[in-house]
Symmetry: C2
Subunit: 341 residues, 2 copies
DNA sequence: CTGTTAGCGCTTTCAA
DNA sequence: TTGAAAGCGCTAACAG
């Protein structure tokens, strides 16, 4: 790899001239410019990324940070990631996926900071999320996908769905079909989304004049896959004779577990049991039989907007704290219908 | 952000001492060491990634490169990515997703090289893949997932499935069930995988004494989604009265299109039509009705092994060119059966 | 329009 | 066991 010095020498100019030929930060005569480009081509010169970053104190890399011990992407994350990528791609930024384990980081107390200008934080927890605290302290620019810990809610930019409204919406929908025994198979309890949606569910139910006895919720136990969880809970509840006539599932996969349990027990969907799900992986929802009615969370849009927000933040230092609410869409397919009298 | 100089000053030592306290590359007295650590803590010091990389000429970042205009991950890529991440994570490497468009790169003719030590190249094309040529010329370490362009086959390390064998295997399986009119809904024609699998298919068919007339193949037209393609081709072929009794689909999604077409035309699977697919997204394959028989390509393993290979390459300069063949697994579910007499 | 000179924050000789 | 100084490859401020 040849350096800027060699190019300068070969072209017979100073290195600042070479630098400026590429950056175009100051006018260079056509003649000199040609000579430099020629030399660069001959030497197969490419500017060194690290050296440049060190000098300008900026990397044009953003990071995406997943929680938990193992960095694993789910279907939802995949769509979100696609949104992030497409935006990075347009703006000429690169994307670094955070893959260093917490373990590893703690062992090496003074590990180097990530080589990023800013970060997108996924799946925050409601209380003390160490990741956001750290970044607040260190003054690293970041945005959150989801809702920040309460204490920071007005201090951090984030993009999220309106999960309370979503919880209310699906519940009201089911209520309007005459269901009153509605089981909510929710995300893990510590996640902010699951709380918000649960509140929405509760609000809809009590607003409809139903008592607290009507609240039927289970939070995902992460030792199980969501499909297993959907299957087991559904089976247990249906067998317990609790008269549940509708189920809200957190994800398409969880819903597939619900379908399986229903089939095994001889419940027909939607005749005997209505099912609705958050998140909409259309190819997945469509091959379920009957096709699954969903709330589309617009994961790709979440990723895209989060990225926009972050880049805006990076490029305009006095940009303000914003929260962006991404609309969700109700996608009616064939898994819900009027409750039997 | 405080720098090594400030730490050195506060601790009353030279910066090389500070550096060595962290890197432990030379012995430092306990006493001094304590003092430095204390100072670092006070100043909330974190080594600067870029500066360090510049000095050591190594980034501990690897890149993953997707082809095409838009960086978009599919289900298969997702599993693969998970494999890559888990390996990075263990070895303390970071992962950079290549998101700069070809457009953008060409406009800026001398764009800076990526800040990576090496790269994983996905989905190579059979002939002149510009990405691999570039990296060969520039001497950037890289490995390929899939088969390299022929001219480079012995010069580049790669990990792949044995796609010829896989093509043969599924075809022989179908043959053994008595099918002789087998439609192959393949990946795009320019992909190396699709050629290899097609050769395997052909080999099995001709080995069984069938003439070339029995070769029925369609390559994915990428203007369509694979589900659409599966649907349309199946419908067209079934309606044309070509007596097809079995279909090999490139992906689970494509197979879902096949299912839909079959249902519309009143063909029952597997009674009237056997379906088998490459790639195995178990949650997806299982909710198809009947569950889809697949060849599991072990995407996660592909990613993991590719990463291992690359890191091995980076850390041991005289490591050799290797090719690693990842085993695939035959997963029998309910979508194939004996052909009707 | 172009060259010279300092850094950016770290690691790595070379001396002591 | 420690310090001083040079340098990684680039950009930026200042001169001219």
């Amino acid at each position: 790899m040849s350096s800027i010095n060699e190019v300068a020498k070969l072209a017979g100019v100073s290195k600042s001239t070479v630098s400026n030929v590429f950056s175009q930060k100051r006018p260079i005569s056509k003649e000199v410019s040609e000579r430099v480009l020629q030399a660069a081509r001959e030497l197969n010169y490419k500017p060194n990324y690290m050296a440049r970053s060190l000098a300008v104190k900026q990397t044009r890399i953003i990071g995406i940070n997943m929680p938990g011990e193992r960095a694993k992407f789910s279907q939802f994350h995949l769509s979100l990631l696609n949104g992030v990528l497409s935006e990075c791609y347009e703006k000429g930024y690169r994307l670094l996926v955070n893959t260093l384990s917490a373990d590893f980081k703690e062992k090496v107390e003074f590990i180097a900071s990530d080589p990023v200008d800013g970060e997108i934080i996924l799946d925050p927890t409601e209380e003390n999320d160490k990741r956001v605290e750290d970044r607040m302290n260190q003054g690293i620019p970041f945005v959150i996908v989801g809702k920040p810990p309460k204490i920071f809610e007005t201090a951090i930019s984030y993009v999220d769905n309106d999960n309370f409204a979503i919880g209310t919406q699906v519940t009201n929908y089911l209520l309007s079909l005459g269901h009153v025994r509605i089981l909510f198979l929710n995300a893990p309890e510590y996640r902010t989304v699951s709380k918000d949606r649960y509140q929405g569910y509760k609000y809809a139910l009590t607003s409809a004049g139903l008592s607290n006895d009507s609240l039927l919720v289970s939070f995902l136990d992460e030792r199980k896959t969501s499909a297993e969880f959907g299957y087991e809970r559904t089976k247990a509840v249906l067998e317990s004779g609790s008269n549940v006539t509708a189920i809200i599932a957190d994800s398409n996969k969880m819903a597939s577990g619900v379908y399986r349990a229903a089939e095994e027990l001889g419940y027909r969907i939607p005749e005997d049991l209505s099912v609705i799900s958050f998140s909409n992986e259309s190819s997945y929802a469509n091959i379920l039989n009957p096709p699954l009615t969903c709330i589309d969370l617009n994961a790709e849009m979440l990723g895209k907007e989060a990225t926009k927000l972050l880049l805006e933040n990076l490029e305009d230092k006095n940009s303000i704290v914003k929260r962006i609410i991404i609309p969700s869409e109700f996608v009616e397919r064939g898994s819900c219908r009027k409750a039997n009298e």
